[in-house]
Assembly symmetry: C2
Homo-oligomer: 420 residues x 2
Amino acid sequence: MSESLTGNVLVAQSGGPTSVINASLAGVITEALNHDCIEEIYGGLNGIQGILNEEFIDLAEESQQTIRGLRHTPAAALGTCRYKMKPSDLERILEVFHAHNIRFFFYIGGNDSQDTTDQICKYAEEQGYDLKAIGIPKTIDNDLPITDHCPGYGSVIKYVATTVQEMALDHAAIGNHDFVSIVEVMGRNAGWIAAGATLAKGRSQDANAAPHLIYLPEVPLSPEKFLEDVQNVLKTEKYCMVVVSEGVTDGNGNYLGQASSATDAFGHSQLGGVGEYLRALVEQSLEIKARSAKLGINQRAAAHCSSETDNNEAFMCGQAAVQAAMAGQTDKMVTLVRSEADRYACETSLTPLSDVANEVKTIPSNWINETQTGVAYPFYKYALPLVEGEVQVPYEQGMPNFVKLAKNPVEKRLETYAMA
Amino acid sequence: MSESLTGNVLVAQSGGPTSVINASLAGVITEALNHDCIEEIYGGLNGIQGILNEEFIDLAEESQQTIRGLRHTPAAALGTCRYKMKPSDLERILEVFHAHNIRFFFYIGGNDSQDTTDQICKYAEEQGYDLKAIGIPKTIDNDLPITDHCPGYGSVIKYVATTVQEMALDHAAIGNHDFVSIVEVMGRNAGWIAAGATLAKGRSQDANAAPHLIYLPEVPLSPEKFLEDVQNVLKTEKYCMVVVSEGVTDGNGNYLGQASSATDAFGHSQLGGVGEYLRALVEQSLEIKARSAKLGINQRAAAHCSSETDNNEAFMCGQAAVQAAMAGQTDKMVTLVRSEADRYACETSLTPLSDVANEVKTIPSNWINETQTGVAYPFYKYALPLVEGEVQVPYEQGMPNFVKLAKNPVEKRLETYAMA
């Protein structure tokens, strides 16, 4: 048991922000204050980059009001990064941990971040450094394995489905017949976000309700099939609304409408363009008026339209991570486990980080409908409870009242690190 | 006095929807029920197009629940149109009015719609047909003259400023330095929507707070000035956030980044592309990473983030239109008049339709800042009260509960009209 281990907490955030990633941070801080073996609560700025540079802030000095405000403030309050760790960085990280007596490390992130935490844990163990490190899941992409779903996901689909529902009303109000509206959403390797747009159809999940067509990266799409699907919808509907994942491919590994071959630091392709590609296809091949919209990073930042269930679970994951470390757990990620009961409930559990790191969970094929133009009922049943409830963001003078950390720096103790 | 005039009400909606256009419709219906000289309350489907085709529905048959739900349901519940009236249509309209004993006509719309109502009024008078017709202002563009502001405007800027504020937090969280984010918003001839993004800066209206640069159609923009402005911001800030109106020009009448020469039914250019144009300019000329986002029609449909003040005023304008017609007024538009008092208050008045029709109100030059990169304090003072308060949209199972009219049709009495 590690209740005998005393030392400092370090918490950091990584990857693309979500509208509830700070709720997990608030959960870590709130829970950490309950344990006597925790001396200081430090925040690492900009993920692993800030840790390498020894850029820590003292979270215990932040006002209670600020920590409470983190519950509804989108984007990573500590800053984030997309830095791919080099093997030589591990030694530096341990040196930094040692210098600041970091014994409890919590890293809030997606697939890549869980891998980073796993490497740090294994290296610390090799070096005989007593460290309890727990990963906290966070990704709008909802593509981490083992956990039922990821904090951040319920909010992004609440926002996307609400936006699609509102746009559909606008389309319906416009007198035009034979109009195609294409909405491109995030989702590189898995179609969870696009699939969530099905909530805009409402309880009936009526095939004739918008969005009429949903395309996921799980199912390759040919231009021919797409045009046929659109024409089928327009036989009975006056407009056709399409939601498409940015990561939809042609089945030969090529993203539809890929704008460039640019890749990010992890070698992921930078996407953009499938919506615009499909719009041009409709206009050119069918001579039907079409518009495309690309929901940008507002998808992951829209705290004003976030899910209360998601927010509560994000906070709970932060708390659970601290509790796990206090119980002597390490090299694990917090997971969400859905109850078997009819009424939705979720509790947390733990899974080895190595089972999560760099794995991608896609939508099961039996959750996709027969015509491959949308999702099937099991997906709807899965997604519906995740958007339940509205976070009551406080407003001041008509605008959301988000908080900013004061960021009192912790004194550096080491030489500057030359980052590779 | 027209309290002696008895007959039926016709109300219709036109142009691009807003998130509060149905609140005005609810105001008309609610007020119409108070007056004994009103026999039937008809809704015309799809604006003037539906009137020409005699497509009326009986609004009195709608449930009270539905009418209440219109208060928070975005997009035009009656449907809308962008039909440019032909002189020969006037005779048909009067024929339709006569056939259904329409004596009170309310048309909810923007510049073009007020012109349509004006023409109908003048033609009815020429023909000796007793008609009381009142225009109800509606446009997210906020470009109607005389009225202090237009219903629909407060909500669009609440949504745009909230989105910009949330995106800015996301940008700030990402560790990248020298990053440019460009958000393109609606606004063809006037920059009211882009200007409203200044609310994201908060009370301080700090030049160093996002959005750092706001470009309006009122001020021509050269690529050189734009690049200089961006570089100035990046001297002190790690990212530069730009909000740009779709209608910004180069000063020679050319829209920046105009994609095509396509025009709509009224001869307005179809825009798109200034955001993407500026993004490419930054990347190519400064070799700095840039992203552009185009807030699409969700701007005008985002009821989930609408202003309570705007919503209440939209409802009040609908009521005021009926009251004016009952008082014998015709050929007028309802206007909003701001009180001179320190505390914001607004009441309605009337103005001749001919003073409004086809006029465009732009932002006064002394409301634009000296460097022409944003707005000055008088604009902030003007805009701030318009976003006050949040409409409490009812949710069901985590999604907004919008209503749909039952649309019980009114029997047609005339031959089919061959639309030109």
